[in-house]
Amino acid sequence: MEKSESTPLLEVRGLKKYFPIRSGFMKKVTNHVKAVDDLSFTVATGETLGIVGESGCGKSTTGRAILRLLEPTGGEVIFQGENLAALSPNEMRMKRKDLQIIFQDPFASLNPRMTVGEIIEEPMIIFELYETSKERKEKVAELMQVVGLKPENSERFPHEFSGGQRQRIGIARALALNPKLIVADEPVSALDVSIQSQVLNLMRDLQKQYGLTYIFISHNLSVVKHFCDRIGVMYLGRMVELAPKNALYEEPLHPYTRSLLSAVPIAKPKTKRERIILTGDVPSPANPPSGCTFHTRCPDCMEICKTDKPEFQSMGDGRYVACHLYNQ
């Protein structure tokens, strides 16, 4: 962990992504959905950073803004010392070799009109990685083997595969360019538990084999705990807590993290736990509450929380939290 602090592969500073809301007859921008608001964290080479949070809190947006699949509204994304947010579209395109993404939906993320072979080969064609098509085909076969697919199936179409197999195809496509960082946006949430474990094991293997760095996005706290080294918890576009895995699970600091952990159903009947059941829904990111955005649902809400935004502050040991409870 100390090692990771010293040589960050990726540093995100004050990342913002606002989606304009247009209304009126000229479709003027009247408001913004602050999907990601002032996010900062680092990812060290070889580590897995988990990002958890409820639906709509901005996890995917964060992932996509880092890769500039969405243009960030503000902030810097420093990858190997270079600010990705400042690159020209073409320079960015060239950078994509090093940064890849795996998507949640194994149905939607594969072009139904391309064969599996074509899908995996496409990045190599774009980056002109190999001289001949034969070399590329060999590489495709190799990749398929790596992710546990039969190379002879390369002429088949995605719909002829099961969900887990499709997710492997997506992984193989991401691996084709030998990336350094992979953003995995809920790679297993659409899969059945038995398949989920296969994919997670595969991803872990690949990390070891290729020294990959992951940003692992999920809403499943048990999976994140199992798979990640450090975990950031997001709420309404902001990070409320960031901590090494064990610290977070053993002693969650932020009231939101605590309630989140207590809400997870545990596959052990009769384990009596203290539950914190949050009232109400997640507020809309277009109209976030004042002060601490969690104060409307917070069991420990204080007066100051309604007016002042808490700082995202270091608590030592690599822990950060944004909560007035921890103001010195």
């Binding site: 996509r64 994509r96 070799k97 939906d105």
Partner: protein, 280 residues
């Protein structure tokens, strides 16, 4: 798809009916008992041979108002009708797909502009457009095809635009972007192939509509040169003989109906087959 096709009586019927027209068109010189322009004024309006008691008629479907063999004209007419239908649709398809792709992919003001253009085209009733253009430039096969082609682009443009807007948000397009694909490549490799099935369905149905429109334009005197055998032309020009020589207009009418019906059957099946929303 192939096996499902073989088991679907609708599709089979549609295909069969369409093939009648296609085979006629391709092999007209072989099948037709005579040439389409061999006229004999003295043998005009001769009844079909099977209803001619005197047994003198050698024409299976009779002859038309200038004494040409109706069957031959109908067989050769398949060429023109299919040509009109297919080529005009290709024209609107090309225009519509390009504009639709641009509007859907780039969005914003480009989209706004193109969609207003579509509104203009839509608010301008087709028949009027056709009448005016044909009045200006004169009637003729290729002009007719062009007019039909130009005025039907909106359907394709709207369809493609809508589809592109949804496909664009699909994760596989995002994935393509993530592996560094250029916009052009994304459109070509990822967007277009995925909207193609809807385009095919619409195109099929449009072929049928355009064959009918040719007939309607001929009716108001703006069709193609009467010596070119078109079903629409034969139908329109034969309407005054409905009571005295019914076959002159009836058989071309049946030819149109069969072909259009066949194309529609096929299009319907394609829609069910290619449009996953409607599949069980």
């Amino acid at each position: 798809m192939g096996r499902r096709f073989a088991r679907n009586p609708w599709a089979m019927t549609g295909m069969f009916l369409l093939m009648l027209a296609v085979v006629s068109a391709l092999f007209a010189p072989v099948i037709a008992p005579s040439t389409p322009d061999k006229a004999d004024l003295r043998a005009r309006l001769v009844a079909p041979s099977w209803m001619d008691d005197t047994g003198k008629s050698e024409h299976l479907l009779g002859t038309d108002q200038v004494g040409r063999d109706l069957l031959s004209r109908i067989i050769y007419g398949a060429r023109i009708s299919l040509l009109v239908g297919v080529v005009s649709v290709l024209i609107s398809l090309v225009i519509g797909v390009i504009l639709g792709l641009i509007a859907g992919f780039y969005g914003r003001w480009v989209d706004d502009l193109l969609m207003r253009l579509a509104d203009v085209q839509l608010a301008f009733p087709f028949i009027l457009f056709a009448i005016i253009v044909m009045t200006v430039f004169g009637a003729g096969l290729w002009k007719l095809i062009l007019v039909l082609g130009i005025s039907n682009w909106v359907g394709f443009a709207r369809l493609v635009r809508g589809q592109v807007m949804s496909v664009k948000e699909m994760e596989y397009v995002q994935a393509a972007k993530a592996i560094g694909a250029t916009n052009l490549r994304i459109i070509r490799k990822h967007v277009l192939p995925n909207v193609s099935s809807s385009i095919i369905v619409l195109a099929t149905l449009n072929v049928a509509t355009n064959i009918l429109l040719e007939a309607s334009l001929t009716f108001i005197g703006l069709g193609v040169d009467p010596s070119i055998p078109t079903w629409g032309g034969m139908l329109a020009d034969g309407r005054n003989y409905l009571e005295t020589a019914w076959w002159v207009a009836t058989f071309p009418g049946i030819a149109i109906m069969i072909t259009v019906f066949g194309i529609n059957l096929l299009g319907d099946w394609l829609r069910d087959e290619l449009d996953p929303n409607l599949r069980v």
